[in-house]
Symmetry: C2
Subunit: 308 residues, 2 copies
């Protein structure tokens, strides 16, 4: 089995991206800091400056993406003084002028959105997942994200990973061929452009702005094993974590040193635990479950890193 690479780059992505080769990335999945959000970690880009701030990055992304690759941008405009900001709309228009095709807009429906009550609006429970491409024709593996038939399941992308495992297993025992795929076709349908996922609560030690199921879904849809995934705003590392799990190579760029170190250390620690686990397993002394490994790497927190 070929080795999977995970490169973590520290720095401003506008600069760090220059070290990435032309036409080398299959999927860009990222969630940049929203305007006026994450002020403490990223300084808070003002809405009126947002497009100007993003465009140089967009130019680099356009350069590094393969012609048949895909760029998924997770973003949502805030409401202020009773009105929605328009910088996201302007960003879409600006990226098109830069040469991107605005292929599709997926909706991420967050059932557990932020609470609150206001006299003039309800809670905001959705975000945009904007799909951009360099070319009208791009790689898309629709069968990889098919969902079980029935209402109970169509909303539950959470279970996708489970069902997919069984499907992969049946595939691996090849020779069944058409029978199996026919049988699958009857029980699975293609999804739509609305994704129904809860946000991950921050009771876990590392907080993520989106659940793992989100990049997982797009990696299944737009990449295969061994492909390259890029996240220029890595944050707590969800994208590369999922990429490793799914055996995709990945590049993550993060400007905050503590986050960067945290992700690196987590990867090392997982490597270590996996090796250790294998050794002990071979020695027959102990069983380290995957569950334990996961627990262990979740304990890595920014605080712990800065202390070291």
């Amino acid at each position: 089995m070929k080795e999977i690479k995970t490169n973590i780059l520290l720095g401003d992505c506008k600069e760090a991206l220059k070290t990435v080769d032309d036409n080398s990335i299959d999927l860009i999945f990222t969630s940049p800091p929203y305007a006026d959000r994450r002020v403490k970690t990223y300084g808070g880009i003002k809405p009126e400056d947002y497009v100007g701030w993003f465009l140089p990055i967009g130019k680099q992304l356009l350069r590094v993406l393969k012609p048949d690759g895909t760029f998924i941008l997770n973003i949502k405009e805030k409401a202020e003084n009773g009105e929605r900001h328009i910088y996201v709309l302007e960003l879409i228009l600006a990226l098109r002028k830069q040469g991107w095709l605005w292929t599709e807009e997926f909706i991420w429906h967050k059932k557990n959105c932020y609470p609150g009550k206001w006299p003039n609006r309800f809670r905001d429970s959705w975000e945009r997942l904007l799909q951009f491409n360099k070319n009208r024709f791009f790689k898309m593996y629709q069968e990889e994200v098919m969902v079980p038939v029935g209402d109970w399941a169509s909303d539950r992308l959470k279970r996708l990973s489970e069902t997919d495992k069984t499907r992969d297993n049946s595939k691996s025992g090849s020779g069944f061929g058409k029978n199996v795929s026919n049988w699958i076709d009857r029980r699975y349908v293609y999804p739509t452009n609305v994704l129904h996922l809860p946000t991950e609560c921050n009771n876990k030690n590392h907080s993520a702005v989106f659940p793992e199921a989100l990049p997982e879904w797009f990696m299944k849809l737009f990449t295969k094993q061994g492909d390259w995934v890029l996240d220029p705003f890595l944050g707590s590392g969800t994208t590369v974590r999922v990429a490793r799990k799914m055996r995709r190579n990945s590049i993550g760029i993060e400007i905050v040193p503590e986050y960067c170190e945290m992700v690196k250390s987590e990867i090392n620690q997982v490597e270590y635990l996996l090796c250790e686990g294998e050794e002990r397993y071979e020695a027959g002394k102990n069983k380290r479950s995957a569950k334990l490994c996961r627990k262990a790497h979740r304990r890595v927190s920014p605080k712990a890193v800065t202390k070291s």
Copy 2:
């Protein structure tokens, strides 16, 4: 009980709107012809002409809406040559320049959306419901659209009741603590900005572009009985039908004579049947149920009208 008025106007709404008084409408709810759609009826507005075509109408709508009224625009850009059109984004920006506030964007998640399969995209299962206002402060009756609390609560609060009663009693002397009992009583919560409605089945004779539940929801939220509702692109008449049912006055404008006649005739027929029903009921000869009335007016189809 005060009489509810339903005015159906035949003609191009840009002109017909001029007969509507300034500041007289509480809610505008409409689904205009999308670019390149309904070519036969509206001549098919080209995407690049869409904003220019809509702005004069937007100006009239701005004039007739009450200062504390709301304008809901149901729209979705189509995909062409692998790319989403941008005329909706440009329309939002243009309406803002015209003086509208872009207050919110609701998502209508169509559970059973149009079937189909394409190599580069999934089925489109959502539409935009853009909310515009003249003023930052507008009427909103949030309690009218509250929804049952999520399943998590019923499971969790089920067994809380026992301990709660005792706790409540014990603390009642101190004057504190009705907190938990409040939670039990709170079986309804405010909704979010994602509407989860099925598209209407097409088994009726006239097909509508949106289900009755859609205007119904917004009428509950933004109007009271006796208020005025306007739909400048009436189509098959869903908006005024719902308005009548909910005892809101309404104005509907439609450019296609056959549609216009159909709606008018449907209203008359319902009136007639209601009167007839009352008479017969008083005479004790017959019972005409509301169900029957509904059935009767559903039989009115454009075909039937043109034949007469």
